[in-house]
Symmetry: C2
């Protein structure tokens, strides 16, 4: 009941506003025509939470969001969760070679990237 | 450069409209207060594409969406991609014990579930 994820790149710069993602050369071909999209979903790995303690966490108090009561991790965005995968929808500013510049990515420098998906323009539905 | 995902449940019914997800008993506690959310993001595993041929695919013609030209897999929702992870935002209809009923899930029966995250009500941003 397990699967293997392969990291396709990493966050090379993280800022208040702009971040850069560098995709590994062997996966770069997969970016073809990504630049046609303005919004993308980025799946990344919470590498600092990839241990048994954090992956065994099932309930949290998400203080960052001003909460004071427990929630299940699947009802929160906590990085401590069974699978340390983060998901953020970001604005794609540019694709230059294997490097993406995005706005709004909430990931630390060196976070491994798991996947990138386009987000349809209609708004709140993620499926293309 | 690899990580391990642990499947937290599976799709037990898949229909045109409604699907059910059964979360494994050992992860069920993580669903606490999920019912407060109307929209959730479901990450699942494209188990039928978890092989070298599909995971080595970097460009596709997404015919299902009426396209006739190649796109990079990261510019598409193709299930053939380096990490066979699907992402769909669905409407959460009910949580009964370890069983969720949702509307709009585009996953096959038996697809392993990787993660469940709440989607904020403001609309197009996924971060809570």
């Amino acid at each position: 009941m397990r699967g293997e994820v392969r990291f396709i790149g990493r966050v090379t710069k993280a800022g208040e506003d702009l971040s850069t993602i560098e995709v590994l050369p062997e996966y770069c071909e997969g970016l073809y025509r990504l630049g046609e999209h303005k919004h993308i979903a980025v799946l990344y790995w919470f590498h600092e939470r990839d241990d048994e303690r954090h992956r065994g966490t099932l309930q949290v108090v998400p203080r960052r969001h001003g909460e004071t009561e427990l929630r299940g991790v699947f009802a929160s965005r906590s990085p401590s969760r069974p699978n340390p995968i983060g998901l953020t929808e970001v604005e794609l500013l540019s694709v230059e070679g294997c490097i993406l510049t995005v706005r709004g990515l909430d990931a630390l420098v060196d976070s491994p990237i798991v996947d990138i998906k386009p987000v349809s323009k209609e708004g709140d539905r993620l499926s293309l």
